[in-house]
């Protein structure tokens, strides 16, 4: 879904749970959209990698979620929210290498524990809103220019 809100473009995607090999479709679409809007390629790269990490998290841990991306001339705001298990200890989760991914996922090469740290590295602001048993909402903000 896509609509205009004032001067900003809003894109919404459903992130299907279960199939982690499909994870990345939403961030891939956003990457293409940003390129077509003429956003500088290094900013496009940061946005797509950060969003990919959040998308993958939603699939691996929360059985899917909803992504809402807002783009205006000043910044890109990516929000991915799910109704998954929530994050018990956010500070611990931000540590490189720490992961709660199940063994099966880790055996396939995912769950290296770099998701949240990477999101922080590539974004200008990262806001995590989470409640155990209820779900998680991650907001990534990247400034244009």
């Amino acid at each position: 879904m896509c609509f205009l809100d004032n001067e900003s473009l809003v894109l919404c995607y459903e992130i299907p749970g279960g199939d982690f090999t499909r994870a990345g479709e939403a961030s891939s679409n956003v990457k293409r959209t940003l390129t077509q809007l003429g956003v500088r390629s290094d900013i496009v790269k940061r946005a797509s990698i950060a969003m990919y990490e959040a998308e993958l998290n939603a699939v691996i841990h929360a059985n899917g979620g909803i992504a809402r991306v807002e783009i205006d001339s000043k910044r890109i705001t990516i929000n991915i929210r799910d109704s998954g298990p929530g994050i018990a200890d956010v500070e611990l989760a931000m540590k490189e290498g720490y992961t709660t991914a199940p063994d099966a996922i880790r055996e396939m090469g995912f769950g290296a524990g770099m998701g949240l740290p990477n999101m922080k590295k590539y974004s200008d602001r990262l806001i995590i809103d989470t409640e155990v048993g209820k779900g998680t909402s991650v907001t990534i903000e990247i400034d244009i220019k």
Partner: protein
Amino acid sequence: MQNYFHSVTLSEDDCKGCTNCIKRCPTEAIRVRKSKARIIKERCIDCGECIRVCPYHAKKAITDPLDIINKYKYKIALPPPAFYGQFTLNYSRRKILTALKLIGFDEVFEVALGAELVTEATKIFMKKGGYKKPVISSACPAVVRLIQVRFPDLIDNVLRIRSPMEVAAQIAKERAQKLYGFKKEEICTVFITPCAAKVTSIKAPYEKKESSVDGAVSIKDVYLKMIEALKDEKTFENLEHAGTKGIRWAIPGGESSALDIANYIAVDGIHNVIKIFEEIENERLTNVEFVEALACTGGCLGGPLTVQNPYLSRRILKDIMNAADKKISAENISENISIINNMVKKDYDDYLWTGNIEHRPIMKLDDDFRIAIKKMEALEKLYQQLPGLDCGACGAPSCRALAEDIVRGNANETDCIFKLRERVRDLAMQMAELEAKMPPVLDKDSGKNSK
């Protein structure tokens, strides 16, 4: 707007306006307009996929005819290693190179030897370190153009060392000037090309301002003359100088395996190259040192202007490499390598590009961000309304591409035959409604019930 030279062209008489080429183009550079395929110049990378896939042979590569050599006093042939795989198993490399002289060239300089020099220069570059990982080979011009158009983030990864063809051409020319006293304009260096992209790299070079190669004749155009010349069983000249490391460049993985690094990936086929580049852009290949990417499946042996089946070519080339190994003893090989090594160490800087490559921003919808956003919204809305069949009947490769074309002002919604059918149905329904309501004057059927 820059003037883009392309060696890939269309012969309109043969084009049927079918959907084969528009669907295969890796940069969605082709549209069917006025019943003929049209190539969008800014998007075309000269990879030759369309040449390969056109069932009516309407797509062609512009190459030079062999008789351009007649304008020059001293004619040098530059055969790529892929050339050796074009003939049957009966002909040795010596026979093939000799035959090139028999068809009109004065000298033959193996591009494979240029490749060995480039390998040594690359080794020096990799040892120096400080490069952005992974290093992406610049040997395939179509891949370099692909990066300019679709993967601008990887421009800094491209290895800025000159191609074997250019290195060979420059050395051959300088040698001829020194040894025989010819003037530069009297010498021609002609590349016997397996593909369109190499032709473009000569006419519109990016490594430096001007190419050292004077012309490109396609393998197809010399093939019959070569077959005739190969029948001459008596003439033999000792013309082989390149070893197996240079010859192997024609096979995917050949360039990389010569480098003595374990951590490399070799990809062939333009769509496979695109997948790997997407992985690199998303930082999922962080440990790889070197990427060899070739636009054609099978490497240069699979080029669109080759004659032989690429799998048979590979078999033939392996025989030629075995013969090369046997002929030269181990001592000679290491002596040759150290001679080459010293040549390159001395003149390392000569192997570096003096030109540069820039991003070609073809994807931008508009230079004004605000207008681009409005166009983007219109594009998404249009896309939702299109059937999503990617059938190509509208002349665009996909429904999404049509939506983009409409938003750019290059197409109409009714180009989509499904949308057109919907409109026809709506019109038909309106007409049926009109037909059901006759004006009282003509309304004869319900005579009893009318007032």
